[in-house]
Symmetry: C2
Subunit: 645 residues, 2 copies
Amino acid sequence: MGKNLAHKLIEQHLVSGVMQPGKEVTLKIDQTLAQDATGTMVMLEFEALGLPKVKTELSAQYVDHNLIQADFKNADDHLFLRSACRKWGLWFSRPGNGISHAVHMACFGIPGKTLLGSDSHTCAGGSLGMLAMGAGGLQVALAMAGLPFSLTMPQIIGVEVTGKLSPWVSAKDVILEMLRRYDVKGGVNKIFEYYGAGLANLSAMDRHVIANMGQEMGATASVFPADETVREFLRQQGREQDFVALHADANAHYDALDNLDLSKIEPMIACPSSPGNVVKVREVEGRPIYQCYIGSSANPGLRDFVIPAKMVEGREVPEEISLDINPSSRQVLEALSSSGDLNRLLEAGARLHQTGCNGCIGMGQAPASGRISLRTVPRNFPGRSGTKEDQVYLCSPETATASAIYGKITDPRAMDMDYPAFREPESLRDMRPLLLAPQEIPVAVELEKGPNIQPLPEFEALPEKLSGPILLKAGDNVSTDEILPAGTDILPLRSNIPAISHYTYSRIDETFYQRATQHGGDSFVIGGENFGQGSSREHAAIAPRYLGVRAVIAVSMARIHRRNLINFGVVPLLFKNADDLGQLNQDDTLSFSDLPSQLQNGHVVTAITGAGKSLELTHNMSDDEVATVVAGGLINYVRDNHLQS
Amino acid sequence: MGKNLAHKLIEQHLVSGVMQPGKEVTLKIDQTLAQDATGTMVMLEFEALGLPKVKTELSAQYVDHNLIQADFKNADDHLFLRSACRKWGLWFSRPGNGISHAVHMACFGIPGKTLLGSDSHTCAGGSLGMLAMGAGGLQVALAMAGLPFSLTMPQIIGVEVTGKLSPWVSAKDVILEMLRRYDVKGGVNKIFEYYGAGLANLSAMDRHVIANMGQEMGATASVFPADETVREFLRQQGREQDFVALHADANAHYDALDNLDLSKIEPMIACPSSPGNVVKVREVEGRPIYQCYIGSSANPGLRDFVIPAKMVEGREVPEEISLDINPSSRQVLEALSSSGDLNRLLEAGARLHQTGCNGCIGMGQAPASGRISLRTVPRNFPGRSGTKEDQVYLCSPETATASAIYGKITDPRAMDMDYPAFREPESLRDMRPLLLAPQEIPVAVELEKGPNIQPLPEFEALPEKLSGPILLKAGDNVSTDEILPAGTDILPLRSNIPAISHYTYSRIDETFYQRATQHGGDSFVIGGENFGQGSSREHAAIAPRYLGVRAVIAVSMARIHRRNLINFGVVPLLFKNADDLGQLNQDDTLSFSDLPSQLQNGHVVTAITGAGKSLELTHNMSDDEVATVVAGGLINYVRDNHLQS
C-alpha cells in the first residue's frame, strides 16, 4: 500500500510520536506566519522566551487585520511588529501589502514545507503541497523558537476529484459543497487530501479557496499535490526554482474516501449564520440584498476580482446596493489597475477599499439593519460582520456579483452573457521588494512599544483544589468570535489583555465581565458541541483565564481553541455523558479535588456539583498537554523544561 | 467706482437688507449640498418642516464621511439619505463617489450661483465664481425649503494675484501663506476675492485649494472670477454649456486690499495644532515623520495625486512610513488607474484607501503615538486625527511626498529630480450617471429609518428668568471638534442626539456630560476668542442645548457656530469687557431676568453673578436672530412665521 501525500509530509517532519490517528505527534516547523491581530501577542510571547533570533527557515509577519487606525493603537502595533521583525529576523510585510495567506503563498509558499500560522486560515497553504496549519499564537512563538509543534495525528481523508466545473461555477462552490457534506465539525482531526484527474481543472488559486475554507469544516489541514499547476503558479511569481513535485503514491492508502465530480456541482450558498448552513443558490433566489462583498482570504485570486469586473462591465449596480471590493494583495490591486478591470468595477458603482482583511473580520463594511449581505468571505458567524443579528450569506464571486447586478440573490447561470474568460497573466509583480527582509542584525534593535502594548499576564500553576461557580452556560458551535469578538472597537486591544478582557463572552452574555470581576475568584464555563470553532485567536483563552476561568467543560471542542486553553492553563474537559450538560445551570458550583493528579492519572476526572453529586468528565490531553496545563500554561512549562538559546 | 464680483453675486441674490458690512442681508440660495455626517440631521429637519419637495434649483446629498461602517449605523444612514433624496427630489451620491466638494464642483458647479452646504468647506465652490458658503444643517434645510439665507454682510477683501508659482510650490502653499498672514480668525466676516494677472497661472483645482481653506481663516467665502480657466474646467467635465463669464468691474472697489506675488511664495507648513501656525518648510526640516497623508477636500485635484506618483516613481518609501493615498472622487481614482499613476504609488509602497474624507475627519489612519503626520488636509486641530496629542502638520502634496521619501520633513525643492510636469486631461469621466437623479416623484417614498435614526428633540422657548451654573470655562479658539468630536466612535451617532450628547465637550472636559446630567437644569458655558471655529457641525449646538446649556458667553465667536447656537435656542453672548472672563470660574452661577426683553430691546444684556455682581454682556444678533433664539430655535420660529408648502 502506498503513502498518501499528507502522510509523507508528516513523516518528513516527524520529531516524535507514532503516526496513528488519535495519537500525538510532534512536527518540525519550517515556516511560520502571523498577522497583526495575533502577531503582537506572538511577539510578546517570543520576547518572554528570551531568544535572540527565530530558528525557522522563514518566519513572516503581516499587517492585514488592524488597518482602520481609529486612534494610535493600530499604528503603534504596526511599528512594534516592524521593530520585532528587525530584532529577531522575520520578514515584515507593511500595511497595504495584503492578506497574509495570499501574500505568503505568492512570496514564500514552497511545496513540501510545513507552515504554522497564528491565523486559522493558514491552512490555505495546502494549495501548494505544503502542510499548513493554523495554531494559537503561543505555539507559533514556540515554533519560531525552534520547538516542534504537537498535534493529534489526524485521519487522512482522500477526496478524489474528477470532471470539470461548469460555467458560472467556481472553487467556492466546491468548498461550499464540502461544507454541505461535512458541516462545521465534520473535519475535526482530519486532513482532506485532494487528488485525481479533475485537479488539472483547478488552478493554484482555486485550490487556495478550497484549502482555506477547509478550516470551516474544522479540518487540521487540506493538502493538494504539487503538480504542474503549482509549477505554473510559482513560475508566475518568478519562483519556479522553489518548485518540487509532490504526489501521493499511486496506490495510496487513506483512512477514508470521498469524491467530488466537479461537473455536478452547481452554485452553492451558506445561509446565515454558519458556514455549514449550505444550500443551492436557486433555493434562496430572489431575496433582496443590500451588499455584495468581494474579497478576503477565501477568494483572494486575481480571477475572483476580474470575473466580477467582466460581469459588471457596461452595467450600473443599483445605487442602494453596496458593491464592496477588497483587494487581497498589492499584487492583485496592481494587476486589476493595469488590466482596466479596476475601472470596470468603479464605473459600475463599486467602492474600492484598502487591501486587507477589512470587513471579513468586522473591520468596517457592516451591513445595514435587517439587510442581506452576500460575501465571498469564509465565515458568517453571528455578528462577525459588525452588525448584530446580521444576515450574511457566503458564496462565490459569481453569485455575489450576479446578485448585486439584479439587487437580489441570483444564480449566476441566469446572467444574460457568456461566462467571462479568465487567463492567469504570465507573471505578476514580485511583492518581496516591498517587504522588510530579515537582517543579519549587526546592531541591537529596540522594541517600539506604544502605551497600548502591555506585557503578558503571568499565570500560576493549577492548584490541588479548585472550586467556583459556572459563570456561563453556552450552546453548540460557540465560535471564538463569540468568546472574544473582533470588530473595530475590540480588535485594536489585542496587545492589551487587561483591556480586551472587558469583552470576554460579551456576544453571548454582556454581563460576563462584570460578573467575573465581581466574583473575583476561580470559575468555570460549560458548553455544547464544537466549542471554540472558528478563528485561532488565543485571546479567547487568555482573556477568560485572566478573569479566573480555570476549566471549560464541553461536549466537544474545536482543535485550535482546545490547545489555546491548554497553552494558557485552562483545563479543557469533556462531558462523559453529554446529557449532563442539561443538568447543570449557570451559577451552579463545581469543585475538583486533586485535579493535577486526576489529570495525570488517567482520562477521567470527577467533579462534585453544588448539590453534592459526582459529575464524570473526561479529557483527551496527552501527557505533555497535561504537564502544560498543570504548569499553568505553555510559557511556564517551556521555560522550565525545553528552552535553550 | 465699479463693483467687485462678490458684490455682484450678493446683489443678484439679495432678498432683503442693505449691503453694508456688518448689516444683515438675506440671499436667495440656488443650490444646496449636504454630506452624510450633517445630512441625516438636515433631512430630519426638512422632514420637520413638512414640505413635499425641495425648492432649490438643485440640491445634492453626498456620502463621504461615515464610510467605515463598524456596525449597522453608517449603512442605515446611507439608506435613509437615499430614501430622503427620492422622496424630496435631491441628487443622491452613493458611497464611493467621493468628497462632496470635489464631486459637486465637477458635476454641478455653475458660475454665478449661490451654494449653501452643511459642510464648512462648501466655500471651495468659490473657485468657479460661485458664492459658496458653509452653514449649519438647519439653515441648509431651510434653504432647501426655499427660504433665503441670512448673514452678516461681510467686508470684501480684494487680493491681487501676480506672478507665477516656482517649481515645487503649489496652491496649498498659497493658502498657507494667507493663513500665516490672517491666522484662524483674520477672515471672520470677510470675503476674500482673488483677481489679477497671476490667476491665469492657477487652475480651477488650484483655486479650489485656496477657496477651500479660506474657511480656516474664518472667512465667509472666497471668490474667484469665472474666466477662461473655469471654462476649461467645465469643458473637461463635459459641461461647457454651464459656463458664464464673471469678473469684477475694472475699477472695482474693495473694503480692503491685499496682494500675493506667487513667484515669492515658497513651501509652507502649518505646525501642530492649528492651521494658522504656519512657517516655511525649511524652518522645520529634518524632523522624522511617520505618515504622509495625501487627499481630502483641501487637495482634491488629480494633480495632487499625480505629482506624488511621479515623485515616488521608481523609489520605495521606507516601510516604517505610512504613505496613505485617499482619492477624492471616483473620477480621480479612475483617472489615476488609467494613467498608471495609481500603480506608481502602489509600487512605491503606498496604501490606497477608499474614496472619501477618511482620516481628515478622524475616520481612520490615525498616526502612531508621538509621531509626526504630514497631511494635505485642511485642519490639524488637536486630536482631530484620532490620536490624542497628535502632531499633524498641514502642507502641500509636494512637501508631504518629499518628506515620505526621505523619512523626515523635507522642502520638496531638495528633490533630486525635475519638478514633474502635469497636464490636465482633455476630459474626465462624468460622474453624474452614478448619482441618483431627482425624480418627478410619481409614487410616495417611505423614509428608511434604522434604529439609530432618532427624531430631533423639541426645544422650548427662552424663559423670562434663567439661572444656573457655568458648567465649563474654555479658552481661546475652541473648535467644534472639541465641542463635539468626530472620529470613528462618535461620527456614526450624528443621527441620534441623545446618544451623541454623551460626548459633548469631552475633548475639553471628560466629565461634562456627567456633570450636566447630574445638574439636570439650565446651565452656561463661557470661553475666549474665536469660540466654535472649524467645522459646521450643528451637533455642537444641539447636543449642549439638549443637556441644558442655554447661553454661551465668549470674547468672540466663529460665524457658523454662532448661528448654529441661535438656530437651536442657545443665546450667543459676548463679554463687553473681555477681562470679565478671567473673573468667572466654573461652577459660578449666573442669573438673567427678562432675558427675552433684554435681547429684544438692545445689544446689552446684564447678568447677575453668584456673588451678586452685575456682569455686562453684549449680543450682535439681528432682530430676526433674536426672535429665533427667543422662540427656542429656528424650527419653532420658521414653523410659526415663514413656512408655506
